[in-house]
């Protein structure tokens, strides 16, 4: 009896090993997709890149496009290191190390100041926004709101949105009390959940659970950005090492095509031209 069970167990063991090997072989044996590229970087552009990739892959089913977040600095780094074929960056101006990369502006993007819908404040002067984000103006009542402290919500160091935003409103040093979140979506969720919060994110990512503030009496909308009256605007770059080739070139071409630009505009970004 003992012997037979032992035998059976050996068999199970062998079978387990076999299954493992088979799985490994199947994984390795499967050929790479005929073509695939990775985009990485700006979390502000990430959702749009994903949407564009989805559309592009629907038209070209044999192609794989992977979109990875991480922030603009990641976009520059991964394009330089080759971890991604295309880097995404949403900086006002590209840093020195990105000069080695080929860059193309694929869209422009307004940065919206957002608060909880229950917040009575509707407009901030640029100077007030600067004071709030620098940490010198700390109560909503000073800008016409309720008497409660302001919770400043910002992006992490290395974020293109943060770098652009700080440059645009003139913040030299962010308030040390600011909550820090690592993506546009998280900023949105934090502000949605907190009546005292104020944050900033890409205009295209604002939804109806948030209230956009006017800046210097100008609302953040596609029209105002194109007209040039809304001031918080930055470009979105796609970066490649050398001139884009093959699939990277084709995909960037698609984004710049009428179809691609329409998709971008439909989803709330401003076309490149």
């Amino acid at each position: 009896m003992q012997k037979s069970t032992v035998g059976m167990k050996t068999l199970t063991l062998k079978r387990l090993a076999l299954v493992g090997c088979a799985a490994a072989v199947a994984l390795c044996g499967c050929s790479r997709q005929s073509a695939s590229i990775t985009l990485a970087g700006s979390t502000a552009f990430q959702p749009f890149a994903e949407k564009l990739a989805e559309q592009y892959m629907a038209a070209h089913p044999d192609i794989g496009i992977t979109v990875q977040g991480g922030g603009s600095a990641v976009g520059i780094q991964s394009a330089l290191s080759g971890a991604a074929q295309i880097g995404m960056a949403d900086l006002l101006e590209l840093p020195a190390e990105a000069q080695a990369l080929t860059s193309v502006v694929v869209a422009r993007d307004g940065i919206a100041l957002v608060v909880h819908p229950a917040n009575p404040v509707t407009n901030l002067a640029l100077a007030q926004a600067r004071a709030i984000f620098s940490g010198t103006l700390r109560n909503w009542k000073d800008v016409g709101g309720a008497d409660q402290p302001i919770t400043v919500v910002s992006r992490e160091a290395g974020s293109g949105t943060r770098a652009s935003f700080e440059k645009l409103i003139g913040v030299v040093k962010l308030s040390p009390d600011a909550l820090v979140q690592d993506s546009s979506g998280t900023i949105r969720e934090t502000v949605i959940n907190d009546q005292r919060a104020v944050g900033y994110l890409s205009h295209g990512l604002v939804n109806d659970k948030l209230k956009m503030l006017q800046v210097d009496d100008q609302e953040c909308s596609t029209d105002k950005v194109i007209a040039g009256t809304y001031s918080l605007v930055r470009p979105i770059f796609l970066l490649t090492k050398g001139a884009p080739e093959g699939l990277a070139k084709a995909f960037i071409g698609y984004i710049l095509s009428t179809n691609g630009q329409q998709c971008i505009q439909r989803n709330g970004l401003i076309p490149a031209q």
Binding site: G70, G71, S72, A73, V74, Q77, E97, T151, E156, A157, G158, S159, K173, P176, D177, A178, L179, V180, Q181, D182, E189, T190, N193, D194, R196, A197
Partner: protein, 285 residues
């Protein structure tokens, strides 16, 4: 022929057996190689004890994060350890063994729930509670401590239960025969005998709390500032690595690796401590 095959098997197994330790060495080498230069350049004291963390300006002081990690971890221990140990005692000594046999696996099951789920519940349930009733931004040290305290419960209960269960029955019977109540037997005899196992469980849980990343990122608010109260938002060592690792270059990257070195050393110290305590127990037994 057979002997030769045996020899070969032994050699191969030896090489395999070195895989864990070589992975550890590889990881340590990498992290130390990348992380120590900046500590040397800046001076260890300035790196550890200055409060300015502004990577863009080239300022790397991790004191606020060390303090945040300590507060969060201590808070988690204050919540998790008493609850966990009380649970372990109660389940071992005051209820029938069948209850323990059902409840212990159920609690261990909770160790398997992804930390992001705990973190999300922290954001949705705990942070608003704190914000509305105690003040502050809600996403805070307190929220992180409570969530981590709950997360370490399975570790504490599981290891403490084993330690208490390993106390020979004769100890219990001896104490009871002398006329002690169950509680007297527990706190005078059993807890003393199981002490090292319980302490080890706390140390290991502490390691888990210091090392936890995702849940803390979600609930702690991540402000880089020396915290003044548990209602302040703060950023831990692990959160800083996770936040900035992908985008960091040059000195900034070195600084993140240096944080890795600090974490690595803390964990090593804790683990060595736990190992010594546990070994002390086995040699004595």
């Amino acid at each position: 022929m057979k002997a030769r095959a045996e020899k070969l098997a032994q050699r191969i197994l030896l090489v395999i057996a070195l895989s864990a330790i070589s992975s550890l060495i590889l990881i340590a080498l990498f992290i130390f190689k990348e992380g120590t230069p900046i500590m040397v350049k800046m001076g260890l004291r300035r790196f550890l004890f200055s409060s300015e963390w502004e990577p863009q300006a080239g300022l790397f002081g991790i004191y606020p994060m060390i303090v945040a990690s300590l507060w969060v971890t201590l808070g988690a221990m204050l919540i998790g350890a008493p609850l966990g140990i009380a649970g372990a005692i109660f389940l071992n000594e005051f209820v029938p063994k069948t209850v323990l046999r059902i409840v212990k696996p159920a609690i261990e099951l909770l160790a398997g729930i992804p930390s992001v789920v705990y973190g999300f519940i922290g954001v949705m349930v705990l942070a608003p509670l704190i914000r509305n009733h105690l003040g502050g931004p809600g996403l805070s040290i307190l929220a992180a401590a409570v969530i981590l305290g709950v997360m370490i419960l399975p570790t504490v209960i599981s290891i403490s239960t084993d330690a208490i269960g390993a106390v020979p029955n004769s100890y219990r019977e001896g104490a009871l025969a002398l006329g002690a109540t169950r509680w007297q037997a527990v706190h005078m005899v059993i807890l003393k005998a199981a002490r090292s196992g319980i302490i080890a469980s706390i140390i290991l849980a502490m390691g888990r709390a210091i090392g936890e990343t995702m849940a803390v990122i979600m609930v702690a608010g991540n402000t880089v500032k020396l915290p003044h109260s548990v209602l302040n938002s703060a950023r831990t060592l692990t959160a800083t690595i996770a936040f900035e690792m992908a985008s960091a270059t040059g000195r900034h990257r070195e600084a993140l690796f240096a944080i890795g070195v600090v974490l690595f050393v803390i964990i090593m110290l804790l683990n060595s401590f736990a190992t010594v305590i546990l070994r002390g127990r086995t040699t004595r037994a």
